[in-house]
Point group: D3
């Protein structure tokens, strides 16, 4: 039995609010149960130095948690003077995943920076960040197309992410914090609309997981991501 009473293959309720803030070119508040992440996409007409004169644009991401987004207060990274290894790992993952859906040549001259700031955490903040960021990125690119700053839509695929894991011996979808902190295995899966993998990251927290467990988890992830992609399309259709 899951602490939340959900079925093993059941997502938490997803709520997507577009244009949550006014300044960013794309702005989305995504809530997956009690996990809430504000994803903004900022467009700047410059490219990083390593892309100078390469005919490409760039998409990158930064991630942060508000100090009291969590059960007990965490030190503020700006005050401690550096981002933790976990933060860097997550923001590298978000940026890499989004770039897998974008033709950087069609974005020539522009950098889009996605900021994922966790307002409230209850497990799965990195996958919620990716799912929400794809929408924020799409909104910002729509704006670039509307303003005729770019000619061709650089987005060539849809991506979304979800966590799966093994909780009390049972593969489950979309772990919340009570599950995540107890899970024997935790896996983050990022897929595209064709059902192919962008990234798979599975970690045995307790004992090692067997091949058939891996297979079951991937099945759960595929079905969950397919639901999330419908929600993304609904949000963008508005």
């Amino acid at each position: 039995m899951r602490p939340s009473g959900r079925n093993p293959d059941q997502l938490r309720e997803v709520k997507i609010t577009t244009n949550f803030t006014i300044h960013a070119e794309g702005s989305v508040l995504i809530a997956c149960g009690d996990t809430q992440v504000l994803c903004t996409a900022s467009v700047e007409s410059r490219v990083p130095r390593f892309l100078k004169d390469k005919g490409q644009g760039w998409v990158t991401a930064e991630y942060g948690m508000l100090p009291r987004s969590t059960h007990s207060r965490m030190g503020r990274e700006a005050a401690r003077g550096k981002q933790s290894g976990r933060t860097q790992e997550i923001q590298r993952l978000i940026g890499r995943s989004l770039r897998a859906a974008v033709d950087l040549n069609a974005l020539d001259g522009y950098t889009i920076t996605i900021d994922c700031d966790v307002l409230q955490a209850d497990g799965g903040t990195r996958t919620a960040s990716i799912t929400g960021s794809f929408i924020a990125l799409s909104l910002a690119i729509e704006k670039l197309l509307d303003e005729k700053k770019i000619k061709k839509n650089p987005i060539h695929g849809q991506i979304a992410a979800v966590s799966v894991g093994i909780f009390n011996g049972v593969p489950v979808l979309d772990l919340d914090y009570p599950e995540d902190s107890e899970a024997e295995t935790d896996m983050n899966v990022i897929m595209n609309e064709a059902g192919a993998f962008i990234e798979v990251q599975g970690t045995a927290e307790g004992h090692a997981f067997r091949r058939e467990e891996l297979d079951e988890m991937l099945n759960l992830a595929a079905s969950g991501i397919s639901e999330l992609m419908q929600q993304q399309r609904d949000a963008l259709a508005k």
Copy 2:
């Protein structure tokens, strides 16, 4: 004429949402027009080293702006590896102001950390932070009293803050960003419920301001703060 069409002595619309997030002992989203600040109060049963065995508790504050809370994206302080002078100045001001309303002896053994995170900025983020923080602090202290962790209410006064300035030669109340960026003088005023001053910080951005201008600005501030205090009491009464 003010860009927003407001009268010189007119506050922006204030909206206070208590319990905006679930983990913090006190949590408030305060909106002053388009400025939105999330203020959380976190209680920890420890005191900073310099108060060891002094029979006192502590109240402190941290401040941050989300990278795209502003018109154009600002670098993330956690990524740059340090907090700017402006950030430190503001968080020192918030903490000092709140401590002026608290009897630290009655808070013995506890540290309350107020986090003010700006989700959206349109001028006056530091005064909105103080006005909102007072509510978050009050909620956290109510909880400590309810749980009988402390015996006596350490809050001995009510405080709120507002900005005033001289815009196009006219003293005005509660500057928004278009005014703030053009103002000749900018002043932040923090007062208590008795109409006395906790902090006054006035800066001539253009030319120096005269004594009678200072007097008019202080009158505007006093009336604005009195309105804000009513809003604070209404929010806490719910």
Copy 3:
């Protein structure tokens, strides 16, 4: 009764030594009682990046305390690897105040950096820094004019600063350390030669201060600053 035996409206003895060191374009040692600050003005023919091609020069300030300028030794900021919030707050204040007296257009192409290093501290180091810096800045600008590097004197006003406060219930001028550490209210006032305000920063350390106390403190500040300006003119006339 003040610890020093001074009257409430009495400044400490001021001693201004120009050309205290040989390399800087302007160099002043200012002593306000036992507070001693070395202020140097350094001219460089460059402007910061944000002023590139704007037809303006720049004036900025840095502040530091020698580790043993104080009663007990403070850690060296260079060794700790960062400047404290207090240091940044003070150097931002000094720079902002000096710029209020300067026409930056007339300084096109030049940056003047004021370094205020406290050799000995006994209260009022930030106001002594501002009063002394104005002289160092003036000397450096005289040099630029003499060498015909600039055509027009960019200084369009005289500025000086002093602290006032409420000590044992009585408004007093120019607090020394024993007063400062006990004062109920502490206010730093920066004015120009016309008696208008450049900056007013008042903080209730104990209980809040009333409007009439504010008024009395401002009167004391105005008279003290007028005396300090005479000292500045005398020092520059030599």
Copy 4:
């Protein structure tokens, strides 16, 4: 055809030199083709603060590349003043993987720090680090057992790691740098002696990978890791 002429399921030649340096409790130089990593295990009789009085020991890892281990020189992380996100990601992975093979209760009172320093890089440095570290860790633990500092062998499993990927459309085992820099998909797999997974990290560098490609890669990894484990046992048997 692979640049090295290897078959798709062929490992590079592995050379393991135990006791490569004299001071560490465990010291191994592992060469996988031209990739050479020095892994040392250092035993200290202390535990990190978060394990104080928990009856557990700790195993952790740090990773670094010598500046000229690579084709062109990389800046030294110690000189730049921080470890890159990639470095932190890798060392977190190494530590997590090793802990999956260790009963921390049986290591009570001790911290073993594994240092993986890349002397020469040609792809697969993180998996070589894990495979080599397991040997260094085992040597250090043998020493603790020999000296009767611990009673029970805390190692309850054998772990090794290898990379797999899709190169020119073909799943291949153990990518070298020319393959790695061109691969469409890159996956690091860490397994135990029972063929279960400790960690799986697959990233689509070019286009997304399909489920059947994932399956083939996992098969390759399983067979490669089984060979590597034989090498580990041989090295430890000496």
Copy 5:
């Protein structure tokens, strides 16, 4: 011919002002020609962690240059966020040299920190720092003896320092900046009152120096240090 017109074996004029500042237990302004260093000795009743329960005290030093102590302004180390290699090298040298004159057992329980802050630089700041620091240290220790906090004088020798070098092919004593910046060889020598060496650091800036040149330089240093020691004794006798 030396730029200053001095003979090869002639020191610059030395001026030593004791008690230059009021707070430090020992305070000395030493001027060697235009080089001016403020040396303060601060006594604290604590020892560094590595000396806990070892029955020893500690003497250490920190060094800094005011930003405009030099011909052109240098960046402030506190602002840049780290001390340069040169600064660290110098402060390690000062501390090591002073400890060579002190019986740390007789200083049990106390740390004396010497701060050497260069107000004005004209070559030889590190040797002036050492010569001045010895006096500041002696004053602080006299105070500890007077207050009966320690029983036995921990100073068992007198030390002083001077630079020598080869300028235009001629060995010269006590280089000023014009000589130092052109010298082919630069050597810093620290000796005790018995004419033995505490530290010798010679560097060929242009071409390598021969054994007989080294010998001549050491002779010059010995005679210069003997003069400086007389000045130290005179200053302490006052």
Copy 6:
């Protein structure tokens, strides 16, 4: 008697392995007894900013110790976020010494960075670094000459380094760690092939050393360096 049984004037066994790694333009593993340092020379076609348009190339060095190169594990400098004063002192010394052997004009357009990484430490790592670096530098320059990137050999001298000291009252050559940690005096000497000095750094660790002791130590150093230079020539002749 020396702990190693060596005669006072006897070097440890030296082993020089050229081309120890494959990527660097020059690569040398030097072993002086149990001290092992990997020295690599990396050529880049750029010059540092301060040499822009000066018609010169540059030679610089960086130094590091692997965390477990020593008896007990040292913290990794990259993890601590800064290089120690000792590290900076040593790398400045290595760079300065090598530049003394090089005509920088003949290296116009190129920077050669020497990385000295200590794999195993047993005293004398800085002198072994210098002796080994000279070989790595020579190999890299041979390569530049072979590829006709530079016309003239910029190396105009040979340099090597050794430590000498006073151990149990006796001057000895090439101290190992057991001697170094007990020595009363420790001196590092860098000389060229003509027997002239590039750098002399002598420090009294216990009591001060007399002139005749200095003379004896310099004699030992000269003879040791002459042997080391033969080894350098042999290694380069291969």
